[in-house]
Symmetry: C2
Subunit: 442 residues, 2 copies
């Protein structure tokens, strides 16, 4: 019952990671004369741009995840392996999994990035990040449990802490998360509780830089900040987080926000692709790649997406889905040209179709080249674009219906707490003297 071995002459392309980059590459190689192996430690491709909606109970996990096997189902030359990569043996040309090795002729690492705590990994227990479905389910549990515990407590200070939410980092994820939590608190939750009311909730968006959404033009940043304030979010720019604990965050080493729920959206660190390859890397751990996305001195090894540092006009490309996707598509063309002995395509060029971020109901910002949109029209555009890019026809329908439902009813359907109802965050020892007064942050 073992699979017949294919002829050894057929080149073996091994892709690690089935995110936007790896999946675009695998799909681009569907009809190529090679054997494609797609390795991922999850069985699903995750549509990360909507992860914040799972974290705030707007969408269910299955709605933004597609089984990888289903996505490449029609490609006879492609096999999928669920496994965790431990390293790469460049001398033997093998990818090492925990229990086997996968030989390659061409290797593409598209392993993405994870949260970075800038040397403070102990903050992760208090301020989890948002990169996987498990992360999103965990944040959803923390947020919903905070409401439940606030409803029950008789301690006014504790209730205030439980109803205070701090989002650290005001990139698109931070902005979207802050807006969604504010909406969840003010509208959907308001009518379900008896003691707490939506207006008691406080949402802070803390950003060390001078403005929110720094990838957007300043006037859109200003619009987004205003839209957030209108939702009740306190935007605190120019404030650096200097400590996180179970009771809150410390800002600039002097003031504190007392809060039970913190979410980290402040920075990412590349996955260890560069380390596996012993290749040159930048400060964020990304592998330096050339104009054709290959690693220096290894024309058969490529790194794409958030794990790679590719440059355009002397500046690194941003760690966003369209870059990864276009790099995957480019590599598919390059590999097919190489297999056909055709000349390779020129260097990779990123086509920037623009930036989108949503702030909340009926508010979003869109920057396309020099053009920009904001408000309701931008919000419709944002919704349409995200539904369009969702992998899987079925999820598109389900997400569209869910959003229409939520729009009409203000309801959040996925308010599900699974797992332990006791908080995961370690309880702090009572701190008597160390407790600083709560200074206004804004």
């Amino acid at each position: 019952m073992t699979q017949p071995q294919t002829a050894p002459a057929r080149p073996r392309v091994v892709i690690v990671g089935a995110g936007f980059g790896g999946l675009a590459l695998a799909k681009g190689l569907a009809d190529a004369p090679c054997d494609v192996t797609l390795i991922d430690r999850r069985n699903h491709h995750l549509f990360q741009p909507l992860l914040y909606q799972v974290a705030t109970a707007g969408l269910a996990p299955t709605q933004i995840a597609s089984p990888i096997r289903s996505v490449v189902r029609g490609q006879a030359n492609t096999r999928v392996i669920l496994g965790e990569v431990a390293g790469v043996d460049r001398a033997r040309r093998q990818v090492k999994l925990s229990d086997r090795v996968i030989p390659y002729d061409i290797l593409v690492l598209a392993t993405g990035a994870t949260h970075a705590y800038f040397g403070h990994d102990d903050w992760e227990a208090f301020a989890p990040g948002l990169k996987t479905l498990e992360d999103a389910i965990d944040v959803r549990r923390r947020v919903l449990l905070a409401f439940e515990r606030a409803e029950l407590t008789d301690d006014a200070a504790e209730r205030e802490r439980l109803l205070t939410f701090v989002i650290i980092g005001a990139g698109p994820t931070g902005v979207e998360l802050a807006g969604a939590i504010a909406e969840l608190a003010r509208r959907a939750i308001s009518c379900d509780f008896r003691v707490i009311q939506g207006a008691m909730a406080r949402v802070y968006l803390v950003e060390a830089g001078p403005r929110v959404l720094t990838a957007f033009p300043p006037h859109l940043s200003a619009y987004a900040a205003r839209a957030l304030e209108k939702l009740g979010v306190t935007v605190a720019t120019g404030r650096a987080v200097t400590a996180c604990d179970a009771l809150g965050v410390e800002l600039d080493g002097k003031s504190r926000i007392e809060a039970r729920t913190l979410v980290w959206a402040a920075g990412v660190r590349a996955s260890p692709a560069a380390t596996w390859l012993e290749a040159e890397r930048d400060r964020a751990g990304r592998a330096m790649v050339g104009a054709d996305l290959s690693v220096a001195g290894a024309p058969d090894i490529f790194v794409i997406g958030d794990a790679a540092h590719a440059q355009a006009d002397g500046k690194p490309l941003p760690g966003v889905a369209p870059v990864a996707k276009q790099q995957g598509e480019y590599l598919a063309r390059l590999i097919k040209a190489r297999l056909a002995d055709r000349p390779a395509p020129g260097p990779f060029r990123y086509k920037d179709y623009g930036n989108l971020a949503t702030v909340g109901r009926q508010a979003a910002v869109v920057a396309i080249g020099k053009a920009s949109l904001k408000g309701f029209i931008a919000w419709l555009f944002w919704g349409a674009a995200h539904v369009y890019f969702l992998i899987g026809f079925r999820n598109r329908i389900a997400v569209t219906l869910d959003w229409l439902w939520a729009y009409i009813t203000f309801d959040r359907g996925s308010r599900l707490i699974t797992g332990d109802i006791m908080p995961k965050t370690p309880e702090p020892a009572p701190r008597a003297a160390a407790r600083r007064p709560l200074e206004p942050v804004h």
Copy 2:
């Protein structure tokens, strides 16, 4: 910011458990002159009859769960507490939670049941049951991971074990689960893998009794068994499980089925309601209740649903959703009559509207009184009845659309593995001599 205390004259009705019974009671008391407290250790009401569909990736967890707060949102006299009950202090008339006590004037325990392993609790690690969403997500992970591992392994015996699924207990849950796993293996999975094929999968349904679905008339049991066999399920009735381990099950102390995935659907044990009350209980741990569902000597304490042993015509009522629901509705009438000083309704009478079970695509059995239905019409009836009884208009739409989609495409949309990709079942030590030859079980 604390809630104003209601006048002490208003009787306090405390309901523990927001399953079918507790929720029906709470809803029945919506306009009653009392303060209702609904305590559950989950934030959601779970539609257990469709749990097997979550376990087999047909539906997403959120589709069969409704936040309890939303269900009773419109009832100003009802508050919801997310908490785990530790016991009941009958002398002080208080329910004890981990961090507080809830005083009651009338107490209703509707705490349901859990799996029973008949004194072999160590089997649970190998053969998990299906009572909560977490259970269903765990079974889904085990089934999907078994396919993934079978695809990868080079060991033929291990592949066979990984593709063998044993369901223990042939009540409705066991029958539905066996049918769904067989369908998942044969159809939806078949095209997604390269090495394994659907036809390699083996599904056993093991039952100690003489036939499947003993609550149904014999001719429907026979039809269900035939329908299961048609799906490729091996039905093994009259075979008792005498051991479960990481490599399979032992039957009747002599033969074995080698299997990596076991699911327990064989028996339930009541929750500790009777123990909390120090009340008389039956062998399954259910509290004995009188004709008005109250506990002997305590006219203000009631037990309903799977936690209770109520009798009709000298026989205990079955542990099914309609019994719990009708008991909840009955108690609402009784409590309202008592509060209004009206005469109490007569003893509780269960109206048996019939039994339903589905075997797989286009096959189900329905027994209503002496009438019975089977096949496609019964399957449509089953689907309509389940959608009708699903709590929440939104979930009804979502489930209907999902089923239509699955019916048209044969696709299973919720094939999501979350959490650790390593199996949770402890790996066995290699057993050299103890390994019995695999005898046919059928």
